[in-house]
Point group: D2
Chain length 347, copies 4
């Protein structure tokens, strides 16, 4: 029998991407989708690309209906709105995977500070498991509430974890220069994402001031066993999907490129979604387009005595909906790659 799942907030980009992925998943059935603005309409009325894909009707949100119709729900709401909804679903006994930032930080003061709003459900922070399967698989299996990682954090934590857990990073030298496609900013139109001002353009933004910094530092600190602070600068790419993070650090031990490579091979040996690129293949975001892979490229800069790590993900897949489905697979006992064996779209 199919497991019944719901999506709260189907019309945003992560909600839509969840639908795309779940449609190819044989063991679940999408039984409940909500959209505040479009309640009562069929999905294909809102988005014509869903014609013949689904005849689902957008519902207004209701805990009762969620409980009645689903076994697990994805909350794909904007940051700040999720914390009003997720606790109700949790208390009603549903398994919840939350794709917002609202339950990722363990400390509500950090949330208040970086997200510039007060957390209204801080008591749920400790109930949430950080949903990065490659690091927290066992906890996710038992979790009722999973906080799905942010897109930038996924592109940064995965490529740093092997060195972090071994204590091989001089943290004060860590610099992360990330570049993201525009879909990461969501579906709401704005001046900066108006097509004529975003295409054929490239910009830095929130320089050393991006809210994802807190999430990354929290997780890297846990891995490192010490308090980590580093420099993070995001940039906006004139393209839809993809994050490429270029990471610079000095090692705390002298290691050759091969030795570092071996540490990564070893650490990610069993992980289907992590791909270590050979030295001859510079990473491209198109290599992971539409897929749940996280590509990692390693280079030791011998001249400057510095390690360079480049990662690439699709921000809407491994950086959001794909990782959420991976978490669902773990929570429901399915094969972890179920519905996620996707060939990257190229060209």
């Amino acid at each position: 029998m199919l497991v019944r799942v719901g999506i709260i907030g189907i019309t945003g980009y992560t909600g839509s991407e969840l639908l795309r992925l779940l449609y190819a998943h044989d063991d679940v059935e999408l039984t409940y989708v909500t959209a505040h603005t479009f309640a009562g309409k069929t999905l294909s009325e809102v988005y014509p690309h869903y014609l013949k894909v689904t005849d689902a009707v957008c519902r207004p949100f209701s805990v009762e209906e969620a409980v009645q119709k689903t076994d697990l729900v994805f909350a794909a709401l904007p940051h700040g709105m999720s914390m009003g909804v997720v606790p109700q679903l949790y208390e009603a006994g549903l398994k919840v995977i939350d794709l917002s930032a609202d339950f990722r930080l363990e400390n509500d003061r950090l949330y208040n500070q970086w997200y510039k709003r007060e957390h209204i459900a801080p008591q749920y922070l400790e109930k949430a498991v950080y949903g990065m399967p490659e690091l927290y698989r066992e906890e996710i299996k038992k979790a009722s509430l999973v906080a799905n990682p942010g897109c930038y954090p996924t592109s940064v934590i995965l490529p740093l974890a092997p060195l972090a857990v071994k204590g091989l990073i001089k943290w004060e030298t860590l610099i992360v220069d990330s570049k993201s496609g525009a879909s990461g900013a969501g579906r709401s139109p704005s001046q900066g994402l108006h097509f004529p001002e975003c295409t054929e353009n490239f910009r830095a933004y929130k320089v050393a001031d991006h809210q994802h910094t807190a999430e990354m530092e929290q997780e890297l600190s846990k891995l490192a066993g010490e308090r980590v602070v580093f420099t993070f600068v995001p940039h906006l790419l004139p393209m839809i999907r993809g994050i490429l993070s270029t990471i610079y650090l000095e090692l705390s031990e002298e290691l050759s490129e091969e030795e570092v490579g071996a540490i990564y091979s070893d650490f990610y040996n069993e992980e289907f979604f992590i791909r270590l690129l050979p030295a001859s293949s510079y990473p491209e975001t198109k290599y992971v387009y539409g897929s749940n892979y996280c590509d990692i490229f390693l280079k030791y800069d011998a001249r400057a005595n510095r390690m360079i790590i480049v990662s690439a993900i699709d921000n809407l897949v491994k950086g959001a909906a794909g990782q959420a489905v991976q978490n669902m697979n773990i929570m429901l006992g399915f094969a972890e790659d179920k519905g996620l064996r996707i060939v990257p779209l190229r060209p």
Copy 2:
């Protein structure tokens, strides 16, 4: 047991797209892939995005190996090369789906004229079935050699067929203005497709002189039962995937927009891959991105007494590899939408 299939010419765009689609197909197994230039290399050495997707090794082409390893092959070779290879496969008893233009025209003189080269296997032209399932399903079922339609022709014939077969088109008024993404031109670099000269640019090309004209006129003539000649102007869009064709014609009978709509609903009633857009939804290529759908939009221009039909397809899917898989499904007796129930990628 899985049916064994091969792809001759895996490294071009249609070959790659076939692999992407077949990877999601439960009833076939890709057992043989060839690539002249890269023979001996693994696919992921050639294209890093195939890492962990497949460990297939590119083979040089050999009829013997094809026969031994496969039950059906897709020929995804450049126009002109296919006619040297397909007859060998056909004579060896394999089912063949040819994605080139080499077996689409029934008349080799037309081929010589429009493709500027001599056809070297004209005796196979009559053996080939034109692989447009919505029109020739029964013939395809029994075919050993299927000539997979061109991308522009697919975007033009499907939206015209319902009126054509009913004799409702004044053919001398027919004008087709098509716009295609750049992947239609294939994988070989050229000045016109060099990124700095193709992006942020739009052009007309081969004005009233495109080789696909012959294929469209042949097929429309068959549907109409009379010799059809019309004006076709292709344009190049600064994007990867998608063809949108805007079609203008006068009807030979007075019909309302609703009556025309009813003719289309009726004609395509059972066709999963044809979607008739409501009047409120102007067609966008993104609605079909990565999928096998052909969207059709109808508008009667009452002021000028003229019918306007707009179609949209993904040139690499319904315009090439997707339609080929659809043909394979028919030839092998699978459900026609097997492996092709894909949610269009958006955003």
Copy 3:
């Protein structure tokens, strides 16, 4: 002494483009710029790309200040707002070039019908001269109020004029298929122009229902000396600048491609901004990028007995601000190409 000019509505795309062009004009001085939303701010505070270009301060609109500070003003306001402002400027004795659609139609009922709002200053319609220099140069010289043509109309009327005035067009066969860059829709963000939904996408819109149809039919009717109705379908390109219009028609006389070419050479012999492309050069919007040229390409489709004309302009230059400066040059007695000898930006 420099002529003093002003721009009402500097922060929109046409206002900004006017500033760019006037900056390179030796005989005028920009002495007054208004911006409702940003009144009091320097332009470079609003748009950092103006740093070191100008220290102009955005002013709220005031007729008195306009009169005091300028000799000629460009109104670069949204459609519907202009008709509230232009009459005041006109009555105050200023020369006015209006870039909105508000004074282009000679008949306010047409305006009401196509623009879905009531015209509040219909008595000024007959005072306005349609500002297409290649056709109405003498009238523009004497005009106090010039209605600057729309972008689509410029791309359609200029390539049709030579045949229209000679009565060589079978009007009932005329079809115009236009494709425009996204800047034509202006600076206000919207869902359809949100970067992730506009890039890598192409769509038809307002099929046979675009408000510019009225303007084109009015002007073509004047040239033809008879009432003209035709089919116009606009499309949105995933790029910033450029309109390419593909125009289909039957000639009312039998003429060879060469004879048609001679008519165009003759008609536009003295026109610096009109360029007739040779048969070997298919038109590209990049050929006119940032410049005031209108490129025209002619092709006789002998098979279908139909004339095909393709035109290309930069919608913000010849389709808006450049044509406005050309009009200003005529009104002020400057050389018509003053400030407009610009090499198209390529790549």
Copy 4:
């Protein structure tokens, strides 16, 4: 009387951009252009966007003709070809501005190592002045041979110079993460720049291995008065023009953001082409599009105790042809901004 200038290699992207800029320059006359492949053709036959712009004819290269027809030449040849041509021009007594990399390095061994070819005219290296006007204006005034800086180096040296000359950089902490538009790779088609593989894609390349590293280290070492080695990683953006470099370093003294800002204001006080962005304006490549500006943005990351500097240039203007014209102005005694007062193109 106009100074006569020539362009050797007019058909490449830097040659074309030179023509665009010189066309707007009142004091020079373009009297000689060469193009090996297109010798004998008019420029507008090669590039239709030059129709009505110029009727110049492409000539084969000849020192004699250069001497006879010009006073100053720009060499816009590919790296490696320039060193065969420039010495001839120099010895013939012409002023030469070379836009290739061939005369930028002072040491031919470095050239051999980084450019993987032997330098055939090493004796001219010391005759060449590094053409960065903001740093070497006096030397350029007297120079006969100017080596025009590379695009990446321009985007890196200008934003570092104020700190470098004051000894305020801990060089071992310096990391430069640069992102460039595709025109930087030149006009020759290649697989990586084939439109369908370059658009909607982003990649790192030549990680810590780019040949411009040598040029940057040479120049920064001169400014610093000590041997500088640092980490440089270039990336390829899916857009035509623009380089944005994000630069990370630790200061050797404790300075506030304001103090650093004051150092920059002071250093670049008189420089028209350097714009210091206010803290509220994150840099965008579109702010400098088509112009000769170099924008600089400063941010002190107090959490990580690190200075972040972001620069933006148009790689074809300040990064190539614009800087070359600026050098020409200095060499010929013109106002330095002559022909270069250009409003950035936006949108």
